[in-house]
Amino acid sequence: MSLVRETRNLLLQAPLKPRAGLGWKGFAQCQIRRSSVSQRPGSDHVHFPGAVDSKFTTKLEFEKPSQKPAMPTYRILDQNGVIVDKSRPPLDVSDEEVLKWYNDMLTVSIMDLIMFDAQRQGRLSFYIVSAGEEGIAVGSSAALHPSDVIFAQYRETGVFKERGFTLDDFMNQLFANKKDVGHGRNMPVHYGSRKLNIHTISSPLATQIPQASGAAYAVKLQDLQNPDSPRRVVACYFGEGAASEGDFHAALNIAATRSCPVVFICRNNGYAISTPTLEQYRGDGIASRGVGYGIETVRVDGNDIFAVREATREARRLALEGGGKPVLLEAMSYRVSHHSTSDDSFAYRAKVEVEDWKRRDNPITRLRKWLEGKGLWDDEKEKDARSRVRKEVLAAFVRAEKEKRPPLGMMFEDVYEDMTAEAREQARLLREHIERYPDEYDVEEFEGGIRSLEK
């Protein structure tokens, strides 16, 4: 007896009663599953359990991805900041909101320039800029609810800015001082904020994506248990390189099967350090994979902040539809900058390619053109804004750089909820050692010197 038939018989023999805990809805699902393997005579499609709506064909034909058209890229504004579809309904956003987005993007780009150079001067160990991708971060964040939970990668400074991370918050983390909520443990740009519902960034790529699916499931169940609370989604950011990790695939599949209200936002900027997309994948971007996992998917022009915001808002709505479901949004952009301060991208791509992109399009200049078209912005305002932001960034920079490091004892804390006896012993050994060799250690830059090592 074939395995298929054997399985089918077993299923048919199963007693017809609702599964414990599932209720009649669960029972109905069992029924559907059971009937899906039976096939009526003369049926035009086979009901294999793994592909229930597949029609029979007598033509042997392989699907050829290369012959399918690429998924379109949604945009509202053209490169000149003009609305493409004149017949579309007017943009439902106030001028104040748009000006805030512009200010947020400008702030990120000015902070990026200053901190990149500060790293070059040796004042902080590392930095990652967002050049060219500010629109994706700010635009998507603007469409989310503050109570939505966010998992980010490391090029989402604009998300933090849009949600309300202050310049002091940024600088305290970048300088790993005692006011950094991460206690000086993380590399620069690995921000996190409980207040803003953003989990702390972890360097390994893609690890946050299945976590976002799980968090979305948690949020969904919690919201079901508290029907009066506003319903939430989880948003998860990552790059097209990270989408090659197994974690990405696991995340989309589990989110689809468990109907998790999660919006996956892929920043496709063309490069994973030196590796161009052509060597990263051969399909139609990352968006085509969403379709494969049965996930509603859209591709959007990352340089168009209006399009990003509208697509994210719609994705959020879809994610909450019915019992909840995942949505994938692929935002197209170009990584104008080096990967990080540790990278010189001209070792693997032509400078002219980068200059072309810089000239061609950019989310900040595109929005500026729109603002100018509306009479909301001009050269004078631009000059003033740039000068103001620069001053604010530098003031926060100076404040943060002056602060002491966190207490040394923080080195041993938070490995577990409670410090182990082993860790307490090690902290004591370290303290006694430093006391024996005071000239060998500079502990004064740490808050409280060695006193925090007393346990």
Binding site: I114, D117, M187, D247, V415, E422, D439, E440
Partner: protein, 389 residues
């Protein structure tokens, strides 16, 4: 990771009250930065480089080239690619030379069929490499940072390590597999660019785990690893890629795996270590020998598993005292295994407990790294305590 000329136009103020990323206390006698130009661990002249008794005659008669560690890794890969057409080199960003420049010009010289970029997936890279090896190739895969190797653990632990054992009489195996990965602290790598996960591999029989201490060793050990018929995890201390420069024999040569090396002979105490901390040990030994009138033996394990018990036990039977030093965490680290073996094999010769000087049982937080990774003062103190026990 090429240096970029500074563009300092955005900052109105230069370094003033600001802090540097890493500092050395002004009055420190022990905790000084390693002076790589004078450390006895590097061969600063051709003569000392060619005097190495492990070198074959062909290499001993060759010229030497002043190389740093990434250049010597490159030289080993180049030798393997040019002498054995089964050798492949791949990983993330490998084609343009790799983020640490180890594969520089290899794609140009040997073609993109044999030297290529992979998509960003460690489990994919290692599984792919195992498959290549299982069908008779000699893949040298690169994991960009040891901190990122964990998605590949299933492939390492359940596949590479057990391949030969489960295949039994079929004789099928994945020998020829080498997975290179940069590891260890550099001063500012924090949680995810500082890890040294060797003990997670040494717990798994079936894998060989190797860590070179210098350019000469890197070349000889990597060539051996590629020639080895068992899977090898080859961990390269990234702090040494540029810093460690010495005269490296130009001709190819292979150094034995699973063989420790006595880097410096001594009679009163044995220090056993591997990789970058050997330089810290060497500095601590210099100070301690001067202050305490003792002679310390320094041993480089080189292969961390399966390791050379004989060399280490013989040394400890001679000196009666031992300290094991490594960067990674104290708990269940390599030092625990070495210390346990020493008490099993040399208990009656021991004059003092075997000390472990390692990273503490915590993670490497950014601003705490120099208090976490063993420094000269901690090793010096351990030597003093062990001698005076």
């Amino acid at each position: 990771m090429r240096p970029i000329l500074p563009r300092l136009r955005t900052l109105p103020f230069q370094q003033a009250g600001g802090r540097r990323s890493s500092t050395f206390p002004p009055n420190a006698r022990l905790n000084r930065p390693t002076d790589f130009s004078s450390t006895p661990l590097l061969c600063h002249t051709s003569q000392t480089a060619l005097a190495n008794p492990e070198l074959p005659a062909s290499a001993r008669q060759s010229k030497t080239i002043r190389s740093n560690l990434f250049q010597s890794v490159n030289s080993a890969l180049r030798h393997a690619l040019s002498t054995d057409e089964r050798v492949l080199v791949f990983g993330e960003d490998v084609a343009f030379g790799g983020v640490f420049r180890c594969s520089m010009n290899l794609a140009t010289d040997f073609g993109s069929e044999r030297v290529f970029n992979t998509p960003l997936s460690e489990q994919g890279i290692v599984g792919f490499a195992i498959g290549c090896a299982a069908e008779g190739m000699r893949p040298v895969a690169e994991i960009q940072f040891a901190d990122y190797v964990y998605p590949a653990f299933d492939q390492f632990v359940n596949e590479a390590a057990k391949f030969r054992y489960r295949s039994g009489g079929t004789g099928m195996n994945c020998g020829g597999l080498v997975v290179r990965m940069p590891c260890g602290g550099v001063g500012h790598g924090a949680l995810y660019h500082s890890q040294s996960p060797e003990s997670l591999f040494t717990h798994v029989p079936g894998l060989k785990v190797v860590m070179p201490r210098c350019p000469i060793q890197a070349k000889g050990l990597l060539i051996s690893a590629i020639e080895c018929n068992d899977p090898v995890v080859f961990m390269e201390p990234k702090v040494l890629y540029r810093a460690a420069v010495e005269q490296v024999p130009a001709e190819p040569y292979a150094f034995p795996l699973s063989k420790a090396e006595i880097v410096k002979p001594g009679s009163d105490l044995s220090i056993i270590s591997y990789g970058a901390p050997l330089y810290t040990c060497s500095a601590a030994i210099a100070a301690a020998e001067n202050d305490l009138d003792i002679k310390v033996e320094l041993i480089d394990m080189r292969t961390i598993y399966p390791w050379d018990r004989n060399t280490i036990l013989e040394s400890v039977r001679k000196t009666g005292r031992a300290i094991v030093v490594h960067e990674s965490m104290f708990n269940a680290g390599v030092a625990s295994e070495v210390a346990a073996s020493i008490q099993e094999g040399a208990l009656l010769r021991l004059e003092a407990p075997v000390k472990r000087i390692t990273g503490w049982s915590t993670h490497t937080g950014l601003v705490y790294e120099r208090f976490n990774i063993p420094d000269v003062a901690r090793i010096y103190d351990a030597i003093k305590n062990t001698i005076e026990y």
